[in-house]
């Protein structure tokens, strides 16, 4: 039974680490956002407000969990659980250093992609069951956004998997020992980052929260511990995508002098800070712009990328050719993209045909 005990201990350790990380991330985000916006951020709870998240968590746990009149009881209560469970399950196979993982899987990358997709169903359940038009709109946007961005994300990961010839995160890190995949595969990295941001619904893709348009999206009606569960899912996912970016493209825990864990956490937090910085900097895209970006640019680009990697592997070309081809493709894609965004592209279709959503009828 010792392996059961071992597994249980590792699971508890990862859960503890995640809870601590989420509290820290929330504090960090508020602090960094505050500084960027020439504010102090949280200051009152302990020096520099470091205990602010703890106080907030306590408040949320003690708060009453409201259920709006006319909400669909079971779906409303299950929504947060379905959203948070996959977010936590993903961490089974994400290593923090060589061997420091609950269970390294042969199909690790695929497992992460598959499980994290289910999380969205929880958010859609929440939005639909709340009996609130803003929540319903948020749910529809969530579904549309996730369907669009799952594909480029998976295809970007496929590029890395093809190069590493393995789906295990441990193997992929080992494969990057001389050069991280960021240098070999800048295009995959860019695709992963854009699609990852959309998966996380962070700026500039925070379309289904969109506080200024639909209040708070699918979570409008939630309060107390259930709302906290959604928040936990969001931040755990943020940390997971950052850790994945570090593991898949920056060589994971490899680095000179410092211990493995320190290297991985440094790289991960670099991405976390980058994402927070984006939130303070970029405006939000419209939903039709988001869909156009995914289907017209990211998906074709990802397919072209896979084709190029296949050629590279089959003819065993030197590494710099792949880097060059990758950069060239990204450059070629930027031209129509720039014309599209800057409004210089010829108006090929009416706005309604540009991937804009059909009108959503409220249930009232």
């Amino acid at each position: 039974m010792s392996w059961v005990l071992d597994l249980a201990l590792r699971t508890v350790a990862v859960l503890g680490f995640l809870v601590f990380t989420v509290l820290f991330l929330i504090w960090l985000e508020r602090k960094v956002l505050g500084r960027i916006q020439m504010r102090m951020g949280p200051m009152r709870t302990a020096p520099f407000g470091v205990l602010q998240s703890v106080a907030d968590a306590l408040k949320l746990v003690l708060k009453e969990g409201l259920r709006p009149d006319g909400a669909d009881r079971w779906v409303y209560h299950l929504g947060p659980v379905v959203a948070v469970l996959p977010a936590l399950m993903v961490w089974v196979t994400i290593p923090l250093a060589g061997g420091l993982v609950v269970q390294d899987m042969r199909l690790g990358v695929f497992y992460i992609v598959a499980i994290s997709g289910v999380s969205v169903v929880g958010m859609v359940m929440a939005g639909w069951s709340s009996n609130n038009k803003y929540a319903l709109l948020g749910a529809a946007r969530t579904a549309a956004q996730m369907i669009s961005y799952e594909l480029p994300l998976v295809l970007a990961l496929l590029g890395v998997v093809m190069l590493a010839q393995s789906l295990s995160l441990g193997d992929i890190v080992e494969q990057q020992s001389p050069w991280p995949y960021l240098l070999l595969q800048p295009l995959s990295f860019a695709l992963f980052l854009i699609a990852g941001l959309a998966e996380l619904a962070r700026n500039p893709f925070d379309i289904y929260h969109a506080d200024t348009e639909i209040v708070g999206g699918p979570f409008v009606e939630y309060s107390g511990i259930r709302w906290a569960m959604f928040f936990m899912a969001e931040y755990v996912n943020l940390f997971a995508i950052s850790a994945l970016a570090a593991l898949l493209f920056l060589g994971g825990w490899k680095g000179p002098l410092l211990p493995d864990v320190v290297w991985l956490l440094t790289k991960t937090y670099a991405f976390v800070l980058f994402i927070i910085w984006l939130r303070a900097t970029l405006p939000r895209l419209r939903i039709d712009q988001l869909m156009a970006l995914a289907w017209r640019y990211l998906v074709p680009l990802a397919f072209a990328n896979i084709l190029v990697i296949a050629f590279y592997l089959y003819y065993q070309m030197p590494g710099w050719t792949l880097s060059l081809a990758s950069l060239a493709m990204a450059g070629i894609a930027l031209v129509p993209l720039y014309r599209h965004w800057s409004g210089r592209a010829p108006a090929r279709t009416r706005t309604a045909d540009r991937g804009g959503l059909p009108k959503v009828e409220s249930r009232a």
Binding site: D72, V75, R106, L107, F110, Y111, V113, A114, I115, G117, V118, V120, V121, V124, M125, W128, L136, A139, A140, A143, A144, M146, I147, E150, L167, P358, V360, E361, R363
Partner: protein
């Protein structure tokens, strides 16, 4: 023992989810019950050491297809769909269901239990890919052509002013 317990739980969830799907009067509930069934079937695949198949099941059916279903359902008015839950195809559905039961029973009864594993042990991921894209490449491509046709058909039907 643990295997039987796991199988019992998963099989129970599969059947319960399927019953919920067909008996629920609310289409969104039906879609969510369907998700339960699909995930439980993924669990059954996992118990057969077909972890790749299990993950594909979760990714495609659990994530994408149920999501598309929910998305489509949310765009329709939920209250108005209760009347359209039934249609006159019941007899046909019964025939199809009985044919499926017959086929499955036939296979179960004509198999010698316990089954001898042909290869011995779980199939590795590389072998999986090789057999899919070499030995079974043509059926695989045919399936994608069918999907492509369906996709184009959907686009043609949904185009404004496309119908005669």
């Amino acid at each position: 023992m643990a295997v039987w317990l796991g199988f019992g739980v998963l099989a129970g969830a599969t059947v319960a989810g399927a019953l919920g799907t067909v008996t629920s009067r609310n289409v969104v509930h039906a879609a969510l019950f369907l998700l339960v069934t699909l995930i439980a079937v993924a669990g059954l695949f996992l118990m057969l050491f077909a972890e790749f198949l299990a993950l594909v099941q979760v990714l495609l059916y659990g994530g994408a297809i149920v999501l598309v279903l929910l998305f489509a359902l949310m765009l329709t008015r939920i209250r108005g769909t209760a009347a359209s839950l039934d249609n006159p195809q019941r007899p046909l559905a019964i025939v199809a269901a009985l044919a499926t039961v017959g086929l499955l029973l036939g296979v179960v009864l004509s198999t010698q239990w316990p089954v001898q594993q042909p290869g011995g042990g779980p199939v590795g991921f590389p072998q999986w890919g090789a057999s899919l894209f070499r030995q079974w490449a043509i059926p695989f491509e045919l399936a994608s052509v069918v999907l492509l046709v369906a996709l184009i058909g959907a686009v043609v039907i949904s185009r404004p002013g496309g119908e005669e």
